[in-house]
């Protein structure tokens, strides 16, 4: 595959070689997305495998008109990992993560500390009413109904705040990366 666009078209056409190439191209990103949700090597591998297997069995799961193949795959794997964690009722592992940004689990310290700080700072700069529900969704994998119940806020309010917070977070990360010359 010469570029990402050609890969996306071939992936949308359900070509076996495109599936294999997409995995090779984004392997670390996909594995990391799952590992950061689950904190477990075997479970993370199973999540990546199962997410791609589901796509392989689905004739029209992806269209290049939708947007980036890479982003689509990251979300598919993250959602598979979140579902797996929910099914296993294994919330305790990361439940303290929101309250303790400064205390990352030791096994996650292998990641790039600069990148981790960028994300942490970008989350911290969000207004509190957006930061809290967004972090509960992103880090704890909670559903919007659970977040609304915990924060005692109307469901519609939580949806809007998460949506707005995510847009601001992504914009801040992009601005931060371009300002510092990072990719």
């Amino acid at each position: 595959m010469e570029n990402e666009e050609a890969l996306a078209v071939a992936f949308a056409a359900h070509e076996r070689s495109a599936f294999a190439q997409a995995y090779r191209q984004y392997a670390s990103l996909l594995y990391s997305a799952a590992y950061n949700v689950l904190g477990n090597r075997d479970e993370a591998q199973d999540s990546v495998h199962d997410a791609i297997a589901k796509l392989w069995r689905s004739p029209a799961a992806y269209s290049e008109k939708r947007g980036s193949l890479r982003s689509f795959l990251v979300v598919c794997v993250r959602n598979e990992a979140i579902s797996r964690r929910r099914r296993a009722a294994n919330r305790a592992r990361l439940s303290g993560r929101l309250a303790s940004f400064a205390q990352e689990p030791a096994e996650l310290d292998a990641g790039d500390p600069i990148e981790r700080d960028r994300l942490r700072h970008a989350v911290a700069r969000l207004p509190g009413d957006q930061r809290t529900p967004l972090a509960m969704a992103f880090y704890d994998g909670k559903t919007h109904t659970e977040i609304a119940a915990e924060l005692q806020q109307p469901l519609g309010t939580i949806k809007s705040r998460i949506s707005l917070g995510l847009r601001k977070l992504a914009a801040a990360l992009r601005a931060d990366a371009s300002g510092s010359g990072a990719s």
């Binding site: 670390s28 591998q45 392989w56 269209s63 970008a122 559903t143 519609g156 992009r174």
Partner: protein, 226 residues
Amino acid sequence: MNGHVDDRAALYALGSLDEREAEAVRAHVAACLSCAQAIGAAEAEVDAAAEHEPQFAAPAALRSRIDRMLSEQPAASRRASGVVARPAYAPWLALAAAFIIGVLPSAYFLGENRRMHDAMGVQSAAMDRLATSTHRVAAFRPMPAMPEGSSASVAYGSSGQWYVVVVKDVSRSLGVAWMHDGQQTMLGQAVPHGNVAMLFLPKSHRMDRLALVDDGQVVAQASLHY
């Protein structure tokens, strides 16, 4: 789902919808381009955040698992819109002739090479599980019809999430079956390479009784304990 996804795009991309809601979103975006693009934009935002989380190298064994899955499972039917019809006329005859004369012998060896590669991938994945996960081992109890001189055992994850069946000194494939509720569910074939046959089941549910099957007949059984 009646309306467009609206705020649910971010919730979907974050994994914050329950499975029923997520399925409704997937069904809707399959037929609604503007919502598909809204979901795509939200996916890019989650991707931007995920990219700034700690990054880890993917284990080598995972690539083998993915390649094996892609080669074993039949591809879903391609979308009609995504497939370009190709003409089937005379030039194909010439190509077919060239294929038979020039390519077929090479293809045989390529196929053999591919099978060997796949087998190595399976062995690598199995070895990775054995090396990195806590597991138990149970021996198969041979019955009279067991191939002479053969012995077999199964190593399995301590929660029954994976199984590696190994048959030594065997020259032909043996079926591996799960025995339960008076039934026999075939799981696959332990295929010999050299004089050792192996079947790796990377993801399964807890099974407490396995059998080896040769030509429809149970030739050995193993009891698994958790």
